[in-house]
């Protein structure tokens, strides 16, 4: 589709760019800076309205550079919700410098635009560019606390790992380009089918591409940056990184592998066995994430390892190349968004009061703040994957896909064992809250923004655990991909 006629499919993105520019201008006008927060929130709502109006056709836009399809729109909803939450609660975090809140919001919106590009990318150039856009803005966000050495360390580590990973990914792209002479994902796929006799070169390219995308979703063995960056970055940023870029990475992985390395709906290109490769990586990812999470005493590090484990769960069904598998990942992403955000918001609330992220600070929460402690129990149940929560429904769909598809049955077994391991460290938090008496019996104070955000996070988690058919319907309508 030509550039001009593509614009009508690009309204949410255009609105988003408008908000970015508007909020930069507002930052420059003296006396207007305090309105920036509300402008950004209103802007995000306008993007959401545009998103709900956007066409559900699957078309390629901007002369094949990008696509517009229901699959992408589904993930865009996740990004809009996550960004809205983070902008909303950034006010309630005491560690962030309030004078930099304008820059914080603008960078967050740029990350969000990068995520939009990531889930719609249909060309190697767009894939690379979108990953870089997300990364560069995230490096800065991770280093927002300039006086905090840990934040500086997080930013620097993120930059070095990120540069290395995208370098390797670009090298992989150059192999794909060398084989096909094209940067369009579908044309590459067509060219690769002619290389039946040379599987090594395609394996090499797949491995290198996996480095780049695996880094974004913190897949083992490219996860080394995750705990340090998650610990050092400002907590709202950590919460964002653990949800939105991870979902985008998974979406990109699905699109990339199903358009480039898959011939029709269920066979891999040139009989390349990348499915086993991804299955093994998924098993390693969730096992390493869960085992390392066992010994963490810092809530941010614990959630970092838990997010690695969850990346493993979502990767689990990608080797099963089918519509059901895609749907299962999408179903899982929704409760994951809410349960992770809710826990991070609680971590912010406790850090505001105690200036510490140690889990021991959660002691006695069961009696000091019964409602909040109860909500945390629900969120932790959901992360473990126990009923009656959304996380349980998500896991049921993931496992049912694997069990239906006999080839990767072993992966389902590993997944179940991992869920049991995760029960241990998630419930250590519950034990700390209910069975250890608090060191100080001060009243637990929580910023009202955080309070209502946490409550609004737990509602969908519980609701999806009891009445999940609307979500399933929505996913069924969003399944089609260009």
């Amino acid at each position: 589709m030509t550039n001009l006629s593509s614009l009508s499919f690009y309204l949410p993105e255009l609105f988003l760019i408008g908000i970015i520019l508007l909020s930069i201008i507002i930052e420059l006008i003296p006396g207007c800076r305090k309105y920036n927060y509300f402008v950004v929130l209103a802007g995000l709502i306008s993007v959401a309205i545009m998103l709900s109006w956007s066409s559900t056709e699957s078309v390629s836009i901007f002369m094949g550079m990008s696509v517009s399809d229901p699959f992408a729109i589904f993930f865009k909803w996740i990004f809009v919700i996550a960004t809205f939450y983070i902008v909303l609660i950034s006010r309630a975090d005491n560690s962030l410098d309030k004078r930099l809140s304008g820059e914080f919001n603008i960078l967050l919106l740029i990350v969000m635009f990068g995520l939009f590009l990531m889930v719609t990318a249909n060309n190697l150039i767009m894939v690379y560019l979108s990953i870089e856009m997300v990364s560069i803005a995230s490096y800065i966000l991770a280093g927002m606390l300039k006086n905090d050495l840990k934040s500086n360390e997080a930013s620097l580590k993120y930059v070095i790992f990120g540069a290395f990973a995208s370098g390797l990914m670009l090298y992989g792209f150059s192999w794909l380009y060398g084989l096909s002479g094209s940067t369009d994902l579908h044309e590459i796929s067509a060219a690769l089918s002619g290389h039946m006799d040379q599987p090594f070169v395609i394996y090499m390219a797949i491995l290198l591409v996996l480095v780049g995308i695996g880094y974004k979703i913190s897949m083992v063995p490219f996860h080394y940056w995750t705990p340090d960056v998650y610990e050092g970055a400002p907590t709202p940023v950590t919460a964002y990184l653990s949800v939105a870029p991870k979902a985008a990475g998974i979406a990109l992985l699905i699109r990339f592998f199903s358009s480039t390395f898959t011939t029709d709906i269920s066979t891999t290109v040139s009989n390349i066995d990348w499915t086993t490769l991804v299955a093994v990586l998924s098993a390693i990812t969730m096992t390493v994430g869960n085992l390392l999470a066992l010994q963490q005493t810092n809530i941010k590090r614990l959630l970092a390892f838990s997010s690695i484990a969850h990346a493993g769960y979502m990767l689990m069904v990608i080797p099963v190349i089918s519509v059901d598998a895609r749907a299962a990942v999408m179903i899982y992403a929704v409760p994951y968004l809410f349960m992770n955000l809710g826990l991070f918001f609680m971590a912010i609330a406790i850090h505001n009061q105690t200036s510490s992220f140690e889990i021991s600070k959660w002691k006695g929460l069961g009696s000091r703040a019964p409602l909040m402690a109860g909500i945390m129990v629900v969120l932790l149940l959901s992360l473990t994957g126990l009923p009656p929560t959304g996380g349980f429904i998500g896991k049921v769909y993931l496992f049912s896909v694997l069990i239906k598809f006999q080839q990767f049955f072993w992966l389902a077994v590993i997944g179940v064992i991992n869920s049991v391991i995760s029960l241990f460290y998630y419930f250590r938090i519950v034990k700390t809250m209910y069975f250890s008496s608090a060191d100080d019996e001060t009243v637990f104070k929580i910023h009202p923004l955080l309070y209502w955000s946490i409550i609004s996070c737990v509602v969908p988690v519980l609701l999806l655990g009891i009445y999940w058919s609307p979500l399933i319907n929505f996913v069924q309508h969003s399944i089609s991909m260009f």
Partner: protein, 165 residues
């Protein structure tokens, strides 16, 4: 061997050998100067592909701009010009062996693969073609790059600014 082939081999050798120098030199200034030759060599390779505009841009942006900035950065930073940078990898032998195996693998694969054959390049005006492509086929990436640059600008201003108050 024709004249152009000789020149090509000379430029390629210059690029690769100076790239080695960049990596192996212990002194940052030497590395920066060696990088100058590498970047010039790459510009030369572009000329061989009849990509004259890219070659000129390479010289202007990388050699003229970025490299000068790097050298300024090195020279204006206290003590960095005297200090030597050594990178020690603890299990050196193991790392070397693995790197060598990967090198052999990549070399084997790239030599045996039947690569896509592009069209033979001819000398023609490239600027019109590039301008046409940027505003048609590659409009979206072109515009997206501007937003990446905006983020980078904003971030560098944010991080380098003195803490106020």
């Amino acid at each position: 061997m024709s004249m152009s082939e000789l020149v090509f081999i000379f430029i390629a050798a210059l690029t690769i050998s100076s790239a080695f120098w960049v990596v192996f030199s212990n002194n940052l200034i030497y590395s920066a100067v060696a990088l100058l030759f590498t970047l010039f060599g790459v510009a030369g390779l572009y000329v061989f592909l009849f990509a004259d505009f890219i070659a000129a841009t390479q010289v202007m942006v990388y050699v003229g701009g970025i490299l000068v900035l790097i050298i300024f950065g090195v020279m204006l930073t206290n003590q960095i010009s005297e200090s030597t940078v050594t990178q020690t990898n603890r299990p050196r032998l193991l790392a070397g062996v693995i790197a060598f195996i990967i090198f052999l693998m990549v070399a084997y694969i790239s030599l045996t693969t039947q690569w896509h054959e592009g069209t033979v390049q001819t000398a023609e005006k490239t600027t019109t073609v590039i301008g046409d492509m940027i505003l048609n086929e590659y409009l979206l990436p072109f515009e997206a790059v501007s937003l990446v640059l905006l983020a980078a600008l904003l971030g560098s201003a944010l991080l380098s600014r003195k803490q106020h108050g």
